[in-house]
């Protein structure tokens, strides 16, 4: 069956495309950022000074912006998501669970520009009014990111809880434990790895989220720890400046993209690590 053999090879080519694509992405982004590493130099690239007109290409402010907004997003989004997952799997009456599940799916489907637009017209003015600042900054970005990581964490968390063997719960309840004791002492510890993976994937989404963050973070290059001061993130800086950047400036932006890629790779590898530990 020669034909069968060709088809198998064709299908294998389709499948290997996923691996090929990630290699290509790495290769091209690395190649484009190479001038930044050789001509601008690593110390300049990771310094705190960002002023492309003067040849300063430090991404520290953006790196910190990315980390802080991700952390903020998870701080709000993870408890909400895990709580909702517990609710879905253990507490909710089935009709209510259906409503929540559909709501979460819908929330996951809302385009990030639309959430960004919502942040811009509602959230930023609201923060501006209660704090007296301009409203843009890490705080606004964190809230927007919380909304975006919520569906990821909820869906994966609920799936983890659902896949636990029912004997665990039955044994705990038979011993006279209350529902909360069962959840806290039996189910959550048993599903620890899965929930951790859910949070890490949420983190990946938060680090990579671009448009929604760009619209509310303020897009300045100042390094600040004040959540109500405008600042920037790696993604927001990329998307704001990519249009007109040339030469070293462009290479520096690609270097930031490379950092983003490496961050997301670290997350993927750590997920592998978490799940492998569980299997062993």
């Amino acid at each position: 069956m020669a034909r069968e053999k060709y088809i198998k090879m064709l299908l294998m080519a389709c499948a290997s495309l996923s691996f090929l694509a990630i290699l290509l992405i790495f290769l091209f982004i690395f190649q484009e950022s190479l001038p930044a590493i050789t001509r601008i130099g690593i110390p300049n690239l990771f310094s705190a000074a960002w002023n492309p007109d003067k040849g300063q290409y430090g991404m520290l402010a953006f790196l910190i912006g990315t980390l802080l907004s991700t952390l903020g997003g998870l701080l709000i989004g993870a408890p909400l998501g895990i709580g909702t997952a517990v609710f879905l799997d253990q507490v909710a009456p089935s009709r209510m669970a259906n409503v929540i599940r559909r709501g979460v799916e819908l929330l996951a489907g809302i385009p990030s520009v639309v959430i960004g637009w919502f942040g811009l017209i509602i959230l930023v003015p609201f923060i501006a009014r209660i704090t007296g600042s301009a409203g843009y900054g890490i705080a606004a970005a964190s809230v927007v990111l919380a909304v975006m990581v919520l569906p990821t964490i909820t869906a994966l968390g609920a799936e983890t809880l659902r896949s636990l063997p029912p004997e665990l719960k039955e044994a705990s309840v038979a011993m006279g434990a209350t529902r909360w004791q069962t959840i806290r002492k039996v189910l959550l510890p048993a599903g620890k790895e899965g929930i951790l993976v859910a949070v890490v994937l949420g983190m990946g989404r938060a680090i990579g989220e671009t448009m929604a963050v760009q619209m509310v973070v303020g897009n300045s290059s100042q390094l600040t720890l004040n959540p109500f001061q405008p600042t920037g993130t790696l993604t927001s800086n990329l998307v704001t400046n990519m249009g007109e950047a040339v030469g070293n400036f462009r290479a520096a932006l690609f270097a930031q993209a490379l950092v983003l890629l490496i961050l997301s790779m670290i997350l993927i590898v750590s997920i592998r690590f978490i799940t492998r530990k569980k299997e062993a």
Binding site: M1, K8, F28, E32, V91, V114
Partner: protein, 327 residues
Amino acid sequence: MSTDLKTGVEIARPSVEVVGDLCEFKDSRIEGIIQQSIARNEKRAHFYDRVATVTVWTLSIIGLGILAFIIFVILYRGIATALTPGFIFGKPQALKEGGGIWPMIVSSFYLALLTIAIVLPLGVGAAVYLTEFSREGRITRLVRFGADSLSTVPSVVFGIFGMVLFVIYFGLGYSLLAGAFTLALLNMPTVMRTTEEAIKAVPHSYREACLSLGASRWETAKKIVLPSAMPGITTGVVLTVGRIVGESAAVLYTVGLFVRKVPVSPLQPAAPMAANIWHMYTEGALVSDWMRVANGEAAFLLLVVLVLNLGARLIARIYQKRLGMVS
């Protein structure tokens, strides 16, 4: 008193009577204390249980509330300020007020169509390979690792990768086709996964029956497995269309931000709604009613995505019903 056998030293050992006394003592007082503390613990446990129940109810309702609030605000603003037939079917304006968004709507769907045309064969092919033509091994692990990695790559990175590879290197320029290739890679993992799940749900007996009649693997996959997996694949495609229409970061620097006319050829630049909303916000100060345009566009985009999501669910349910009647 008794004597230690090794040292001969007399040591005190409680007699049986003393132990009995202790038991008596425990019965009367400690038992009471223990009972009380058990009751208190139980009460506390029930209190915490109540608190936890209220908390998770509240958290879930907050989540649902956020969703409802976002949808309400976006739709309300859009409908109140912009969404009229004249706006939806109107021509965009770059310098004066009163622009519409028809070319953007067409761009979004055109891009989605092209992307699906590219990603569907690739994703389905990959899924068929993984489920029907291979055993778990080094290759499948590599493929899965690739797909997992692809799905965590930030979309803005896909965007600039697409810009370098398709727009510049392959010389496609800012065009629907360059964007479609980029988005095909971006959506490949999702299409692969949903197809794989749909294929895995097909009962093994179907395949066995077909193979036992002398059909080859590919014939079995083509004539039996894929048709049976169609409902799942269709649902996945509709959801992917929703994702493509909503995608902006990967589209900005591959397809374009603003056009005046409806794009005709896939080699022309276009301006999908999601990208254009962002354009309105960043450079929109060129037209004084940029806020109105963005409001209307956001509302329309949200409506499209909601309809696609509900549509995907409807398709799944219709298929389920039909399958239920057959079996």
